[in-house]
């Protein structure tokens, strides 16, 4: 009995000692090369984990490629936010208290950025999101260290609405949000524009977890020739389209960002507007596409903006190191502000406005043909 107590105590002691030993930083290495840590926040689990995993993969890819190119030793620490402000807050507090960490990529959702912005501001730490598109994030002034590589909803909402009004010319339409703020925000921007144009709008709402749309589809009237789906889950839109086919409804689907998913959402004749380009179609990205596909399989438009964001951070760190300075949070933040890339994975130059928005905000519109292929068309 007693012997067992002692043995167990020794085991516990050994374990805890070992734990302490390994956690102490190995200080000397930092001086020799550009060694530092950046964080990545995203919904790695939970309902939109596929989105977060894609973002994580591209962040990992960017770090690996940039480390090779710049001879830096940047390591990536991941934090799971589940697209939930509370989790994002916890993760951010952990990151901020990690003295080795100099900048963060993410978080994914606008509501999360809103929750963690003040924390990053207090720590003087830059964070770049590749998917938060709420306009107020950059205009409110509450998030001075926030940047994003995607354009905001104030660009997308009106652009899409006007395209629908002018090109598709519906008399009435159905617009369905998915109860997430990304979606409801866009809907609230678009509805007044439709109403001003004299279009009758049937506003509906289904949770992301719903996969049966037959009842909703039955509601589409012949006058409603357009269905707007600002959703994040492409598989749901695909099912929506199939339910339409099954019930012989002829309306055209107009989706946004999340629906960009060749291979998943392929209802012929549908439109998808996206904050990110399809990098499969950008010749300069061919090797990157091959690399990503080999390593992680197929992907959509959520990964590349995060790659771009991570690349911005990597380059900033490399620039600081090259200038002979230590990559501190302040130095990295300053370097990010000065970002001026002539080209990027997104097929366009990247530089930031004083508020942290990308200059020359741009969205991309795609039309799906009968083979399920996405074709970029002008607005």
């Amino acid at each position: 009995m007693k012997a067992r107590v002692i043995a167990a105590a020794v085991a516990v002691g050994a374990l805890s000692l070992a734990g302490c030993g390994s956690s102490s930083p190995s200080g000397s290495a930092a001086a020799k090369s550009c060694t530092t840590t950046i964080g990545m926040e995203g919904p790695l689990t939970g309902p939109v984990a596929s989105l977060g995993q894609e973002q994580l993969h591209f962040a990992e890819l960017a770090v690996a490629n940039d480390n090779k190119a710049n001879h830096t030793k940047i390591s990536l620490v991941q934090g799971d936010t589940q697209l939930n402000p509370a989790d994002a807050t916890t993760v951010t507090k952990e990151f901020v208290s990690n003295s080795k960490m100099v900048a963060v990529v993410g978080p994914a959702g606008s509501q999360e950025v809103e929750a963690v912005g003040p924390l990053f501001a207090r720590a003087g730490m830059a964070f770049i999101s590749g998917s938060a598109t709420d306009p107020s994030l950059t205009t409110s002034g509450k998030n001075p260290t926030f940047f994003r590589t995607v354009s905001n909803d104030n660009v997308q909402g009106p652009q899409d609405a006007h395209y629908i009004i002018n090109t598709l010319k519906p008399k009435a339409l159905m617009i369905v949000d998915d109860e997430e703020s990304y979606s409801t925000d866009l809907v609230s921007i678009m509805i007044p524009i439709f109403k001003a144009a004299g279009i009758k709008v049937d506003h509906e709402s289904v949770s992301q977890s719903v996969t049966d749309f037959s009842s909703l589809v039955a509601k589409i009237t012949p006058a409603e020739t357009v269905v707007v789906l600002p959703w994040q889950i492409a598989a749901n839109a695909q099912q929506f389209g199939r339910d339409m086919a099954q019930e012989h409804k002829k309306a055209v689907i107009f989706g946004t960002d999340g629906l960009y998913s060749p291979g998943t959402f392929e209802i012929a004749g549908s439109y998808v507007s996206s904050f990110g380009p399809d990098i499969h179609t950008i010749p300069a990205d061919a090797s990157l596409v091959a690399q990503a596909q080999a390593k992680y399989g197929s992907f959509g438009t959520f990964g590349p903006p995060v790659y771009a964001a991570t690349h911005v951070v990597d380059e900033a760190i490399a620039a600081v190191c090259k200038g002979g300075h230590a990559p501190t949070r302040a130095n990295v933040l300053a370097a990010i502000k000065k970002t001026n890339e002539s080209t990027s994975i997104l097929g366009k130059p990247i530089s930031f406005t004083a508020h942290g928005d990308p200059k020359n905000g741009q969205f991309f519109l795609f039309k799906i043909n009968s083979k399920g292929t996405y074709n970029n068309i002008p607005y």
């Binding site: 009995m1 012997a3 067992r4 107590v5 043995a7 167990a8 105590a9 085991a11 516990v12 374990l15 805890s16 070992a18 734990g19 030993g21 390994s22 956690s23 790695l44 689990t45 995993q53 994580l56 991941q78 934090g79 799971d80 589940q82 697209l83 939930n84 402000p85 509370a86 807050t89 916890t90 993760v91 507090k93 952990e94 901020v96 208290s97 990690n98 606008s110 509501q111 809103e114 929750a115 003040p118 109860e179 997430e180 703020s181 409801t184 709402s205 949770s207």
Partner: protein
């Protein structure tokens, strides 16, 4: 009856040992169940100290903690744990004492948070409503209590599982209302942002330390209040209706009223936790108050021991510190994983000979298997270990890690589950024999699948789930609870 009350209590000397069934039963029951071996020893030691001194020690430890150069993040984990502890304390009133299975409890927490946020932000009007905390907190807490009364009303007609169902749907309804139905007023999925800190009398609480201290005060205060209540007329009536509502009503207890009080009381504690949560978090959203979090609160209460004040708090602290403080760090997670295996073996496996046998065979088994795999194909063993530190060096050459680990890892996981189920079904020599490959498989699965950084957050949840299941089977009374009997009705 009158002559009874006038007499002084008759001094009753403890009777000497008597032989008979009564005595035997009494003695058996006196042997409380302790944790196995040395853990039980610690338990007995702690038990020697009285309840109030123990509370004093714990409170002092809580107050001293920030002075020990802990980081902001550690303090934040502390605050989160204390919020959970407060919630578990409230749940303990409704579930642990009164036995009313309230699965909508998290909505009271949400109601408190939303209530506080509405009167402490710009949500309601352009210039906002900004009540001072000494006014808003009591109002919100009382309002939450009233909501508790309202939700408790069905408990007068429904009990047990039916009550559980209806409260579960109340919780879902709360989420629906905040997220969708009343989204224009309550901010929908974005929730409410820009919530005032706790302020009043010219003081504002801003720093993490201040909130930490506030939470320590609230939790200790709640513990004191609940302890005083537990052994009062009200507390006894709660526990009486848990054990037998019918008998309670025959013993002059107004069961309906007592149930409603339990609901209201639990709700008030949750409401209080909600106000602190909102003030400290600055922004709240419907996703803060989901069934997932409810499961977490239940897990805390169950782990600590339903019905025990100290248990509720200890459960919350242990679980949340493990989850947020340890399991967010992959290296620590590895230590915890292998540490638990070692401790479980040390505690459960006896005699020593058998332990040595299992340990020895496991080591030999691993090296043999590794050698065979390496001989067949180098790519079978050329993957990199996930664990760092000394564990990695200990495991190298022992555990197989294929170059592409995902597929084998998945199958390893499935096989591991099957092995564990099988292990629970067999006994004696077969079990000992089966233990060796199971341990090896556990290490294999960890190094190829569970321990990988990509899966870190999923692994956290799997660990919560396993803790809940194993705890229920092995020690349903929780860490600090006492085993309860339930008479089937």
């Amino acid at each position: 009856m009158s002559q009874l009350a006038t007499d002084e209590p008759a001094p009753v000397a403890p009777a000497g040992p008597q032989v008979g069934a009564d005595e035997w039963v009494a003695r058996q029951a006196q042997r409380r169940e302790y944790l196995p071996s040395w853990l039980g020893g610690t338990e007995r030691l702690v038990e020697k100290v009285g309840w109030w001194p123990r509370l004093g020690l714990a409170a002092a430890a809580g107050l001293v903690l920030p002075l020990l150069h802990v980081g902001q993040f550690q303090l934040q984990v502390g605050i989160d744990s204390l919020v959970l502890a407060l919630l578990a304390l409230g749940l303990n009133v409704t579930v642990g004492w009164a036995g009313l299975l309230d699965l909508g409890y998290v909505a009271f927490f949400g109601f408190g948070a939303y209530g506080f946020a509405l009167v402490s932000s710009d949500q309601l009007s352009a210039q906002g409503v900004h009540w001072p905390a000494y006014f808003s907190i009591p109002v919100v807490v009382v309002a939450t209590g009233l909501l508790g009364l309202l939700v408790g009303l069905p408990s007068r007609r429904l009990s047990g599982d039916y009550l559980a169902i209806i409260t579960l749907f109340f919780g879902e309804a709360f989420y629906e209302i905040t997220n969708t139905v009343a989204s224009s007023k309550l901010g929908g999925e974005d929730g409410i942002v820009g919530i005032d800190p706790i302020r009043g009398f010219g003081v504002q609480l801003l720093s993490t330390e201040q909130y930490y201290y506030l939470m320590v005060i609230f939790v200790v205060g709640a513990m004191i209040v609940l302890r005083l209540l537990e052994f009062s007329r009200t507390g006894r009536s709660w526990r009486a209706i848990r054990d037998d509502p019918l008998a309670a009503s025959a013993m002059t207890i107004s069961v309906d009223k007592v149930k409603l009080m339990a609901f209201a009381f639990g709700a008030m504690v949750a409401g209080l936790a909600g106000t602190e949560f909102a003030a400290q978090q600055v922004s709240i959203a419907p996703t803060d108050f989901t069934t997932q979090y409810l499961i977490m609160i239940y897990a805390c209460l169950i782990l600590g021991g339903a019905g025990s004040i100290g248990g509720a708090v200890a459960g919350a602290l242990v679980l949340n510190v493990v989850l947020d403080g340890i399991l967010r760090n992959p290296t620590y997670t590895g230590y915890l994983f292998y540490g638990l295996i070692v401790i479980a073996l040390l505690v459960k496996l006896r005699p020593w000979r058998r332990l040595a046998l299992v340990a020895g065979s496991t080591i030999v088994f691993g090296y043999a298997l590794h050698a065979i795999a390496a001989a067949i194909s180098h790519s079978w063993v050329s993957g990199s270990l996930q664990s760092g530190g000394w564990i990695a060096s200990a495991l190298r050459g022992w555990v197989i890690v294929p170059a592409s680990a995902t597929g084998p890892g998945d199958w390893g996981f499935v096989l591991l589950i099957c092995m564990l189920i099988a292990l629970a079904q067999v006994h004696g020599r077969t079990r000992t024999l089966l233990l060796v490959p199971t341990i090896y498989l556990a290490a294999f699965t960890w190094e190829t699948l569970l321990g990988t950084p990509t899966n870190a957050s999923i692994t956290r949840y799997i660990i919560i789930a396993v803790v809940l299941i194993v705890m229920m089977i092995a020690r349903p009374q929780g860490l600090l609870g006492t085993r309860r009997v339930e008479v089937p009705t």
